[in-house]
Amino acid sequence: MSTVELAAQMITSFLGAAGFALLFNAPKRTLIPCGLIGMFGWVLYYVLAEHGIDIVPATVLAAILVAVLTQICAKVYKTPIIIFIVGGIIPLVPGGMAYNAMRHFVENDYNIAIEYSVKVMLLSGGIGFGLMFSEIINQIIKRSWK
C-alpha cells in the first residue's frame, strides 16, 4: 500500500460519502463532516484489510468508528444522528460483494453465488453490530454521568 494509493482512497471516500449526504439532502453545513466521517471509516477499513485482517472484523471496527464519530458530530452540530450516519456508513456497504453474488447467480454458478451472499449477510450484520455497539457505549456513558 503506497501513500499515493491511500491518498486516492481518502479523496474518493470523502467524495463518495459527501455526495451521498448531498443526495439525501443533508444540510449544507453538515456535508463536509459527513464526508470526513465516511473517509475515516473507510480508511480504517482499508488499512485493516490491507494488513490482512479479515474483512468482517474490519467492517465491524470501521462501523464502530463511524458510529462514535457520528455521536460526537451530532452533539456538536445539535442535529439528529441519522444525518451523519447515512453518509458515513455508505462506503462500508458491501456493494461489490452483492454484485458478485448476483453476477454468479445469473451465470448459474450457485455455489460461489451463495458463498458471496453469505459474506454479504455477514458484512451487513457486522455494520449493524458496529452501530449497536457504539450506541451501547453511548448509553453507558450517559448513565454513568448522571
Binding site: T12, G19, I90, Y99, L131
Partner: protein
C-alpha cells in the same frame, strides 16, 4: 359561622334564580352580573383549553408527519412527538409511528389521532429542521400557534438541492466508488457518466411511474447498458467495477440504516418493514443489472 354559610347559600340561590330569569331579560339581583361573568370566564377557559389541546395534538402529529415523510427513524418520530406534547403540558400523550402511518392518543377523546403517510422521500434537512423546532419548543421559545405555523411553513418549503447538483453528486460518487472498490483510474470517467445517466433515469422515471421499484429497475438497466457500451467502444476497462460504482447512488442507504436503528430501539414492525423496503430496492437494482449481464 352558620350565619356566613347561610348568607352564602342565599347568595347562590339568588344567583341561580337570577340566572333562570335572565333568559326572560329581567335582572333581579346584583349578584347576577358577577356570576355570569365568572361562568363566562370558566366556559371560555374550558373552550380555550379544548382548542389548545387540539392544536397541541395537531402540532405533534404534523411534526411526526413531516419527519416520517422525510425518512426519519420511527423511534425518533415518536420521541419528538412525545417531547412536544410534554412541553405543552400533555403528559399523557401516547404515540405510535410506523413508516406508513401515525397514531396519536391523549386522554381526551375529542382529539383526532391518526394520520396516513402516503409519500415518502429522503430529506435530511427537514428532519434537522423539525428537530431544532422541537428543541426550541422544549426550551419554551414557541407558543403552540407559532410552532404549528412554523411546521406548516416547513412542510411546504422545498429545500432540495437543485437537480444539476444532485446529478453531479451522484456522478462524482459513482466514480469515487469505482476507485474504492478496487477499480482503475481509467474507469473513473465511464463510471461517472454511467452513474450520472442512471441517476437521471431514476429521477425521470420516478415522475412517470408510481412504483418506485420499477424506476430503480429501469435505472439500473440503463446503467448496465451504458457500462456495456463504454466497455464495448473501449472507453471503459473493467465492466464489473464500472457497474458497481455506478449503481451505488441507487443503493437504499437510508432504509438500511433506519431498519437497523429501529430494530435496535425495539420497533420491530417499523424495522422489519424498512428492511423489506431496502431488500426490494436491492432486488430491483440487482435484477436490472442481471438483465444486462444475461446478454453477455
Amino acid at each position: 359561622m352558620t350565619n356566613v354559610l347561610l348568607a352564602r347559600i342565599n347568595q347562590a340561590f339568588t344567583g341561580c334564580l337570577s340566572l333562570a330569569t335572565i333568559a326572560g331579560g329581567s335582572v333581579t339581583s346584583p349578584y347576577t352580573g358577577n356570576i355570569l361573568a365568572i361562568m363566562k370566564k370558566v366556559m371560555t377557559k374550558v373552550g380555550e383549553q379544548m382548542e389548545d389541546r387540539q392544536l397541541i395534538a395537531k402540532t405533534c402529529i404534523l411534526a411526526g408527519k413531516i419527519m416520517l415523510e422525510s425518512g426519519a427513524e420511527t423511534y425518533r418520530v415518536e420521541d419528538t412527538m412525545n417531547r412536544i406534547a410534554a412541553a405543552y403540558g400533555l403528559h399523557d400523550a401516547q404515540s405510535y409511528a410506523t413508516p406508513t402511518g401515525i397514531h396519536f392518543a391523549t386522554e381526551s377523546a375529542s382529539i383526532p389521532g391518526f394520520v396516513r403517510i402516503s409519500k415518502r422521500t429522503t430529506d435530511l434537512e427537514k428532519i434537522a429542521d423539525v428537530n431544532s423546532i422541537s428543541r426550541a419548543i422544549a426550551a419554551g421559545q414557541h407558543t403552540v400557534a407559532d410552532a404549528h405555523s412554523l411546521l406548516l411553513n416547513l412542510r411546504q418549503v422545498n429545500q432540495m438541492y437543485p437537480v444539476w447538483l444532485q446529478l453531479a453528486a451522484a456522478a462524482v460518487a459513482s466514480g469515487s466508488f469505482t476507485i474504492m472498490f478496487g477499480g482503475v483510474w481509467m474507469d473513473f470517467l465511464p463510471a461517472l457518466l454511467a452513474g450520472g445517466g442512471g441517476f437521471a433515469t431514476m429521477l425521470v422515471m420516478e415522475r412517470f411511474l408510481q412504483i418506485r421499484f420499477m424506476a430503480e429497475f429501469i435505472a439500473s438497466l440503463v446503467i448496465g447498458l451504458l457500462a456495456l457500451f463504454f466497455v464495448y467502444i473501449g472507453f471503459g476497462m473493467v465492466l464489473d467495477k464500472i457497474i458497481i460504482g455506478a449503481v451505488m447512488p441507487l443503493v437504499p442507504g437510508l432504509p438500511i440504516t433506519n431498519a437497523v436503528r429501529d430494530l435496535m430501539a425495539g420497533h420491530l414492525v417499523a424495522g422489519v418493514s424498512k428492511g423489506v423496503e431496502a431488500l426490494l430496492t436491492a432486488c430491483a437494482i440487482g435484477a436490472g443489472v442481471a438483465t444486462v449481464l444475461t446478454f453477455l
